[in-house]
Symmetry: C2
Subunit: 133 residues, 2 copies
DNA sequence: GTGCATTGGATGCAGGTGCATGTAATGTCC
DNA sequence: GGACATTACATGCACCTGCATCCAATGCAC
């Protein structure tokens, strides 16, 4: 690791970051996809929703707007829109029109979505621990 | 930054890494593309080649095999093959069959490629410094 | 209310990526 | 030498992504 030093601190940091990111992303993608049929981005979205759902009593939310999730997972609005469409097609989330502002769309976890997230979370954590522990 | 703590060290580290990577990559892509017509991966490849070229006297190389570069920039062999095809189309690198092993392909910087890299390098460094400094 | 800008999200499109596979050149074993 | 595995790279394909754009619902002047 960090085989090639450039002699420049900033560039070296960036290369290490790139290498770490590539390694972890790649491993995560493989494991999540093989064992749970989820991509990294898909899991990330389910994860944020599950997390907030769990904290529902103390300020967490049950429903999300699309853009809100996009910020969290570093995806463009369009990518998120499609990602949510995929998750909906698989029955992991459901979309509902927000009556208060009919332009908006609420996204929420289904029971199946919560289940898949619960199953995948240990895999996710295991991969992270193996690479970043 | 790091707005949302999960209370789990490994997951928090991963999220910070994701956020940092997304921010820097996005900024780099924008700047390099707007000002020099280069993508992040394209620059990264030129950079490795220029770097080794500079160190040519002391063990650096002038010519590269495709897979060799793929490892450095965390891309699949196929992605690299196409990326090099793009760079060749733009006249930044040239490919030559390796006579010693006619399966192999040598990739080397052209003068134009060296020029573009030299122009883009300060932008690259500036963005990194701004985000990681 | 009418006109115009803005916002939230969906979609057409171009382009990049990985996987599986194809092709040609080598290597290996008998 | 001949059959088979392997290696190096290219390519077909499916899929994901961002940008630009579109559409519907709001907001804001006036």
């Amino acid at each position: 690791m960090t085989r090639h030093k450039t002699g420049n601190d900033v560039i070296d940091r960036w290369r290490e970051l790139l290498a770490l990111h590539a390694g972890v992303s790649c491993a995560l993608e493989r494991e999540l996809s093989e064992r749970h049929g989820l991509g990294v981005s898909e899991f990330e979205v389910l994860d944020r929703m599950a997390e907030n759902l769990a904290a529902c009593d103390e300020g967490g939310k049950e429903k999300f707007r699309v853009q809100e999730l996009a910020d969290e997972v570093h995806l463009s609005q369009s990518a998120l829109s499609r990602l949510i469409a995929r998750l909906e097609r698989e029955g992991l989330v459901s979309r509902a029109i927000c009556e208060a502002d009919r332009r908006g769309v609420f996204v929420m976890l289904t029971d199946e979505g919560r289940k898949r997230h619960t199953e995948a979370a240990p895999t996710h954590l295991a991969v992270l621990t193996a690479h970043l522990g």
